[in-house]
Every structure is written in C-alpha cells, then in structure tokens.
Symmetry: C2
Subunit: 195 residues, 2 copies
DNA sequence: AGGTAACTTGAGCGATCGCTCAAGGTGGCA
DNA sequence: TGCCACCTTGAGCGATCGCTCAAGTTACCT
C-alpha cells in the first residue's frame, strides 16, 4: 500500500453507511470497513465520528443541491423544475440512494431534541435547503405560475412536510408502487401549484 | 425496599425514554434509571432491551388507540372524530408527549431496512393502526361525509403521510406556532374530506 | 418460628465502544 | 543514497455496552 487514501471516496462511502444505518447504529468498525481506512487515518482525516457524520450530511446536501440545480435548469417552468426534482433526484425516486429516504429526514427523527454539533449542522443545512425552495416558489410567483399572494415559506413547509411524510411511508413496508404513486401525486400538486 | 416493582409504571417510563431517545441511543443504564429497576429485575420482567422496546411500542399504540377511541366517540361525525384525534390526542398536539413526534414514525425512520423483532412488531402495529383509520373513512363514506367512490386505504396513506411529515417539521427546529398551524391545516383537510 | 417460593440486588462477564499513539513504511528532494 | 516530512498501521486504552447469576432479602403459609 501507498498513496493517500482517497478521502473523497471514503467520505462518500461513510455517508452511505450513515444514511442507511443512522449515527448511533454505525460503529467505527463499520466506518473502517466501508472506507477501507484504519482508525488512525480515519481520525487524522476526519477528526471524530460526529465530525465525519457532519461532513456526510454536508456532502449529501451538496450532492442533492447539485442534482436539483441540474434538473431545474432543464425544466420548462419553476414548478415543473420542483416536480422534476421530486420525481427524479429525491432519494424517494432515486435508485442510487442506499435507502429510500432523505438522509436529513432520517437524521432529524433519529436525533432527539438535545443539542449537538450534529444537530446544529443539520439545522443549518435544512435551512439552506428551505432558502432554495423558497427562491423557486418566489420565481414561480414572479413568472405568474402561482398567484401573487402565495407565501413561499408556507409552500416550502408543505413541500418539506409532503416529502418527509412519504419518507415515512417508504420506511415502513409499503410496496414501491405505492410510494411511486404518493411521489407522483405530490409532484402533480407542485406542478399545479396546489401544494 | 420490598414489594414487586410496579411493572406497569416501569414500562411507562421505559416507553417515554425510548420514545424520546430512540432504541440505539437508550442504554441499559438509562432504562435502570427511569424504571428504578436493577438489571436482574429488568431482565426477569422484560427479557431483553429489544423485547422491552417492542413492549413499549405496544403500550404506546394501546394508549393512542384508547385516546383516539375516546375522542372519536364524542365527535359529531367520523371526519370530525379523525380531526379531533389529530388536534387533541396525536403527540404533535399533546403536551403529555415527551417529544413532539409519533413514537412509531421516529422508530420507522431510526430502523434501517434490516429485519428484526422490533421491525416486525412495528409493522404489525402500524398496520393495525391503518385498519382503524380505514374503518373510520369507510364509516364516513357510508354516512355520506365522503363521496361513494372514495378509497379508504388511499385516504389512510395520505393521513399517515401528512402526520409523519409534520413530525419531521416538529423535530427540526420549527417554532411551535408553525407546527400548530400545520396540524390545524391537516385537521381542516380531514374535516372537509379534502385530504 | 421455620420453611419455602418469589423477588431484588449488584458485582462483574465478555464484547464492543470511540479513540490514541508509538512504530513502521513511503515518496520526494538534495 | 541519506535524510526528512508525511502517511499508514494496528495494538490496545479506558469506558461502556447488553446481560447473567449467585447471594441476599422479603412475603406468605403452616
């Protein structure tokens, strides 16, 4: 062996492990296995289990944002763009995801109310995500796709809530066609502005 | 000390601990503390941490069912009954809850996809809950509160999804008035049959 | 009071937890 | 080639994990 470990690939694999199994149920042994790194290197590279989790959320969020930006650019309207995000890039609709659930939703429900560096990172990323949704709804209003009086913050809460609700349905045993139906109903609501 | 430990109160306290902190993040030490029992008695009474968790879910589910039956009996219609459940007994609206989230929703998202005795118990309880919702919607159809063609199973999925979505919003930092607004919007949808 | 069945107690088991660090290896430069 | 800066390695730290069980205590019956 030689060469620096591929820190980027290691983080990617750690993210998938945390995403699928959560923070508390992922052990350092698991992380060593999926990253191919030994404890010393892991700690030199990432600091601690909690910091690695925070980095994993950051990476997840960056990836989702990049994919969302990509599909929304191609869309014919802002609401279409949001619908395409739901139907094409969100983990509920994305075969690349290790489990059919948004990492952030899973994390928000795993963590209790107690403060931690993980929780504050989570809130920061969720709020950044809200800003993106709100901007898209605002653009939709300005483009006349939504009535002038529509409230972007409220629409964003409904979109978040709608997605998280389907994440729950996906994590109980529901059939994948059932999930697909809920997803396309939500996308249709967004497209028609009736969210 | 003497007398049997109060197994019922102990289970209640264990349930609240698991509910607030999840399975993996609750240690035997925590359970000893909240139940006031020593490890030997805990294991004699409940068998294992996993079995105690399964019993906690059962107890949660029984409690929620009992409260729901109580408010639904008093309601003036079936849809009003469901709305009253949402606004009065669901943990999102219930100050007795240790955290503002349904225990089952939190558990479904904490557990991965892997099978376990906990997961099968969870699915059993969730399906029993579905049957109750479906029966309420069916009664609403027969009472003419909903159109003849309405699908109770689908309405139930939407109700589950709606509640779980708000649970996510409640577990991120959202203000409690915001949560209350989402809850009353969902209740209004149910009351009007537009869920 | 003596016997017995049932319960409580807590020391401590082996395993695993998150994490550290001294030792060994590697690549680049003079 | 010899040196140095950097990286990897893995044994193993102290703590905690879920759990067991022999010993002690209590309640009840005769």
């Amino acid at each position: 062996m030689s060469m620096n470990h591929d820190k980027d690939a290691a983080l990617n694999n750690a993210m998938r492990q945390f995403w699928a199994h959560g923070f508390a149920s992922t052990s350092l042994k698991d992380l060593e296995r999926v990253t191919g790194m030994h404890p010393g290197s892991l700690y030199a590279a990432f600091g601690s289990k909690a910091k690695l989790f925070a980095l994993s959320m950051q990476r997840y969020s960056d990836w989702l944002n990049a994919e969302r930006a990509r599909v929304m650019e191609q869309a014919s309207s802002h609401l279409d763009g949001l619908a395409a995000f739901i139907e094409q890039v969100h983990p509920l609709s994305n075969a690349q995801a290790p489990i059919r659930t948004c990492f952030m939703v899973k994390t928000a429900l795993e963590l209790g109310a107690e403060d931690s560096e993980i929780r504050s990172q989570m809130i920061k990323l969720l709020e950044a995500n809200d800003r993106v949704f709100e901007a898209a709804f605002q653009s939709a209003i300005e483009a006349g796709e939504l009535p002038k009086g529509a409230d972007p913050a409220k629409l964003t809460r409904h979109l978040n809530s709608g997605l998280a609700g389907i994440c729950f349905c996906a994590m109980r045993a529901e059939a994948s066609e059932t999930i697909a139906e809920l997803v396309s109903e939500l996308a249709a609501k967004v497209r028609s502005g009736a969210i």
